[in-house]
Amino acid sequence: MSTALPPPRLSTPSMANRWAEASLAQPLDQRSRALRRLVIRALDGGERGHIGPSMSLIEIMRSLYDHVARHDPKNPDWPERDRIILSKGHGCLALYALLADHGYFPDAEIETFCRRDSRLGGHPERGKLPGVEASTGALGHGLSIGLGMALAARLRGQSHSVFVVMGDGEINEGSVWEAAMAIGKHRLERLVAVVDYNKLQSYGLTDDVQPLEPLADKWQAFGFETVQINGHDVEAMTAALTAPRNGKPLALICHTVKGKGIPWAEFSPEWHHKSRLNPDEIQALYAALEAE
């Protein structure tokens, strides 16, 4: 039985907005393609990986690491760095691509993904790889950790920001909303909750499995300033993430395309995770990027 879904319906609740429409139409520039090639290198090396949830995430992570966050690959423990927690740990291929590209570890190491002695596991682990702030993979943990980090920074009078990147399926977890309530209470202006709203979770559409709409209203009700955006538009996200804030935490709801850049993987639950990827499939992934 095929699990392929019909093309996304722009009338469904999660897609019926201009940001989702823009995310579908967004072309990929050279850098976005180069970062995706790094992801494919890892997929090739590990013969497996969460493809869809990583490809939707590339421009979000690119905005943070290229333009928004203060960080220093040569000094990953720099106390004044901004903290970036990838709470949706299964999207780690996007994190690894950005960390490798910024020189946190040698490019070639990305090919060791998921191998026995690798530092690059199927979910990221703190202390193994420079630049990984928290061990994630069990969903719904990152926002509480970010809350603790932001409170520690406030206690010490530090001015760095904390960015917590979550998946849309992930925010089914009740712990996310426990953390959101606490962040609203503490009015942590330097904390940003980023949602990779790619409209699909493992089984199918979020609209079907656990509808999230009205998503912006939910974050707003918890005390966040809320911005919806095209999650493949680096310039727009950079502007939103660097705009002056009004004393509230920010929830950036990034409308994205799961599997972005690989036509047959886009919006396909079958491409949420793939194992035993063979060389022909890998070549097809590279080719798809060039054809984009």
Binding site: R126, G127, A138, S144, I145, G148, R156, G174, S175, A182
Partner: protein
Amino acid sequence: MRKAALNTAYLLAQQDERVVFIGSDLGAGTLAGMKETLPERFFMEGIAEQNLVGMAAGMAMEGLVPFVNTIATFLTRRCFEQIAVDLCLQNLPVRLIANGGGVVYAPLGSTHLALEDIGILRALPNITILAPSDAKEMIAAVKATASVPGPVYIRLGKGGDPVIFGADETFAIGKASLKKAFAGTSDARRRVGIISTGVMTHRCLQTVAALTGQGLDVAVLHLATLKPLDEQAIRDLAAGSDLLVTVEEHCPHGGLHSAVLETLHAPTAGPLMPVGPVLRLSLPDAFPTAYGSQEQLLELAGLDPDGITRSILAAAG
């Protein structure tokens, strides 16, 4: 015991600016002094245990030492994954102060009892598990956590327990305390080695007179640290005993009895040794159907001094 633990945490906070306190929705006035004098390090964050533990992890990653306090069963069942992944996997110095270990909350029913907390936490790497016997030992134990780099679980009794921690006793994490030694190796009487933890130890000490009166030579070993275990002390006691007995306010699985058997059958160091029967005195493998008081539930389970005495006499023949 609860006040002793919290006041000691406050004392540590006064001495060390890395120490913070995080409560859930504790009783009005809890640590009012700390809230007054160190308000920036006093957090009361609501009925959200998963968030409490995750938040503590985030603080610990930044170099703080959070003490998290709420009811034992909510602190273990509700957020087990946060303890495993956020605290143990990342080996962070968060201290969990667990009110009402065992059947302290007897009148409130099974939802409030911590029957398996030690068993489930013992299964996790990197965690230290403490179950002091009384308020004096609690103070020493909480102070001793300062040297522990990873997470610590501290099980509290009801409070008001008789003090058996000696005035000149020192507390070291991972070290057992021999509260009562055997009379001597030349003694021909059968030797019963009792191993106990938490507030059960003073009950065990209360059995000594009756057991001695029945012609037994009795030793009582108190384990305030359940992980890491003082394996040598357990092995030494076992070697000198005709009968070993474990006594715990915990379900039969995964707790003190399991830990002792694991030590004797599969020591992490040293040779394997022959192991005789080890009498297990614990709570039953059941959710209690009665309410009443902690004492009454312990009595129903045969864990009051008379019940312990009867069971040992029956087993010792």
